[in-house]
């Protein structure tokens, strides 16, 4: 346990001094996608539901937050909450229909709904259509604290991300999280215990969507623009890649996955289609060879390492 605390403390120190050395916007992008990937992980890694439409929550929330900030003097945190709220309500509606088909069809239905949302956003007037929404102001936090400077704003994003990830941690380690895992392993058994798996899945979908909404809302304030790309299916695919690459059903995996993919996209940004091709190749390699993902594989390696060590210890005492 102390080891874990030490790692957490080291990570915190690293996160606090990082913007001195690294471009803050890149760090904030990683944090936004770490929240987004965790939200997806909550659904697939714990409840076993593959959503192929998470971009609809991310993108819509980005637009709503941007619109609130542009059209009113609302304080920053309320704008973020506004975006989250809209994506949560959207998930409550979509989930009602999507949950009706189990398994693989859930992926197809969520993908179709997100395409619907994409077309709505394309045609709605407030989004600016194909031009996107530019010049989103970073209003003062709580109406008091100025966060226009990216270096300062980084600490706000870090704080919100830490809060979101703590929330995620509490959800998956609660009795509710246990039931989700049980549903993923053996749904009929959960049902035979008198519980309604559908209700738990529905709630997980809504919780996941509001976290995805938070990620999108933050993204709009970090970049100060929102575009249709945020709500398009390649973003839904990207968050799948981040989660699988980092480690499905692990706490820190999606954060690593998000960091790797964001940095990769950043490095390959000038090389045309190669960023997308690289994503496809990485996803394929992960699916075929490393299904436990980065963090999962490392944990497995360490467990292997420990076992022979423990054995030799036993032999020595015997």
């Amino acid at each position: 346990m102390n080891k874990k605390l030490l790692i957490a403390a080291l990570a915190l120190v690293a996160a606090l001094i990082a913007p001195v050395y690294v471009y803050p916007v890149l760090l904030m992008t990683i944090l936004c996608f770490a929240i987004f990937a965790s939200s997806f992980n909550l659904l697939l890694g714990y409840a076993g539901l593959l959503s192929f439409g998470h971009a609809m929550f991310f993108g819509t929330s980005a637009y709503i937050t941007g619109w609130l900030l542009k059209s009113s003097p609302i304080s920053l945190e309320l704008a973020l909450l506004g975006g989250m709220l809209v994506s949560t309500v959207m998930a409550a509606l979509v989930g009602l229909l999507a949950i009706r088909r189990a398994g693989i069809q859930f992926a197809m239905i969520t993908l179709a709904f997100s395409q619907f949302v994409y077309f709505v956003l394309l045609q709605a007037h407030f989004t600016g259509g194909e031009n996107g929404m530019q010049g989103i102001p970073r209003n003062a936090l709580f109406g008091l604290i100025d966060v226009k400077d990216s270096f300062h704003f980084y600490y706000v994003v870090l704080g919100v991300s830490a809060l979101a990830l703590f929330l995620f941690y509490r959800i998956v380690n609660s009795p509710f999280g246990e039931i989700l895992r049980a549903i993923k392993d053996k749904e009929p058994r959960v049902e035979s215990l008198g519980m309604k798996p559908e209700q738990f899945k529905y709630l997980a979908f809504i919780l996941s969507a509001s976290l995805a909404g938070l990620a999108g809302a933050l993204k709009a304030t970090v970049f100060q623009f929102a575009t249709l790309t945020d709500a398009s299916w390649p973003i839904s695919g990207e968050v799948i890649l981040m989660t699988l690459l980092g480690g499905l059903g692990t706490l820190s995996g999606p954060m690593f996955g998000a960091a790797i993919v964001v940095i990769l996209n950043d490095e390959l940004a000038g090389l045309g289609e190669w960023a997308l091709i690289a994503q496809g190749v990485i996803l394929l390699v992960v699916i075929v060879f490393f299904r436990r993902g980065f963090v999962g594989e490392i944990a497995a390696l360490m467990a292997k390492w420990k076992k022979p060590a423990a054995k030799s210890e036993v032999q020595a005492t015997a």
Binding site: L44, G48, L50, L97, A98, R100, R101, G103, I104, Q105, A107, M108, I109, L111, A112, F113, Q115, F116, F119, V120, Q123, W233, G237, I240, L244, G272, E273, W274, L276, I277, Q279, G280, V281, L283, L284, I287, V288, R291
Partner: protein, 286 residues
């Protein structure tokens, strides 16, 4: 509303519906036997169109020859893909099959776009001219697309629902071990089925080349609509996929007259309605 406008949009809807029906039928066949949602279906459709264009511009191969050659090439690659990639994943959660084919689609579409750019390339129609029906002009090629797609759909439906071979396929889906005990090579059948489904997608691609422009994104655009259609028709139901494909193509065309802004959303609205009223699909399979 004029007769010309109505007839024009109906024809356009029927053309779109022809492609929806062909593509969703291929998806339903693959899903029915393998339980894999073939996310690469759109990429296979796009490669079919590109192969036809490539053969024409580089080797002067005609449209009619490409209609046979392109599906065979795509089917061959698809069968290799099935053996090397999908079979090892077959015993895992089905979502890995979906994600693997998604990764393939990303790579294929990315490579084609990197090589040929994102803009559409025109492909000259092999049948020129048309007929004046009094209220509208009907190009022969469009008529050919509708007739050919209906014939292909009916032929495939007959093959799978009414012949001995189709019975083996359906039985292999239900009880592979029993079908194997009758001396039928089920893994080989799965490989051939995946090749057949991919070949159908490529055939649709060749058929589509003279109507829509040949472009890297032509597959992913239609793919999501086709997914919605398969959900409405009932997963794995071949007749459901065909009927829903044509119907929704026509509905889409009619929406363009009444409320053009909603034309590309109407399929998803129908999907939502279908999920509400018929949670198991319009034509429940088995």
């Amino acid at each position: 509303m004029t007769v010309q406008l109505l007839a024009g949009q109906l024809l356009l809807g029927l053309i779109n519906g022809s492609f929806y029906a062909l593509l969703s039928m291929g998806l339903a066949i693959i899903f029915g036997l393998m339980n894999v949602v073939n996310f690469a279906h759109g990429a296979q459709y796009m490669i079919g169109a590109f192969t036809a264009w490539f053969l024409l511009t580089n080797f002067g191969v005609s449209y009619w020859a490409a209609l046979v050659i392109a599906p065979l090439i795509v089917a061959a690659f698809a069968m290799i893909l099935e053996r090397l990639l999908l079979r090892p994943l077959a015993n895992l959660d089905h979502l890995y099959g979906l994600l693997a084919t998604y990764a393939i689609a990303l790579i294929v579409e990315g490579l084609v776009r990197q090589r040929y750019g994102a803009t559409g390339i025109p492909y000259e129609s092999p049948i020129k001219g048309g007929v004046h029906l009094g209220f509208m002009f009907l190009p022969w090629y469009r008529l050919w697309v509708v007739v050919f797609s209906v014939a292909t759909c009916l032929g495939t439906w007959f093959l799978i629902e009414k012949t001995r071979l189709g019975a083996y396929l359906r039985a292999a889906n239900e009880m592979p071990s029993i079908v194997e005990s009758f001396g039928i090579n089920v893994p080989k059948m799965i490989t051939l089925t995946y090749g057949f489904g991919a070949g159908l997608a490529a055939l649709s691609g060749v058929l589509a080349a003279p109507i829509y422009q040949v472009s890297p994104s032509m597959g992913s655009n239609v793919m999501i609509v086709v997914f919605a259609i398969v959900v409405i028709g009932g997963m794995g139901s071949i007749s459901g996929a065909i009927i829903t494909g044509y119907l929704l193509g026509i509905v889409e065309g009619l929406t363009k007259i009444v409320y053009p802004e909603a034309a590309n959303m109407v399929v998803f609205v129908f999907m939502a309605a279908a999920l509400m009223w018929r949670p198991d699909g319009m034509m429940k399979s088995n």
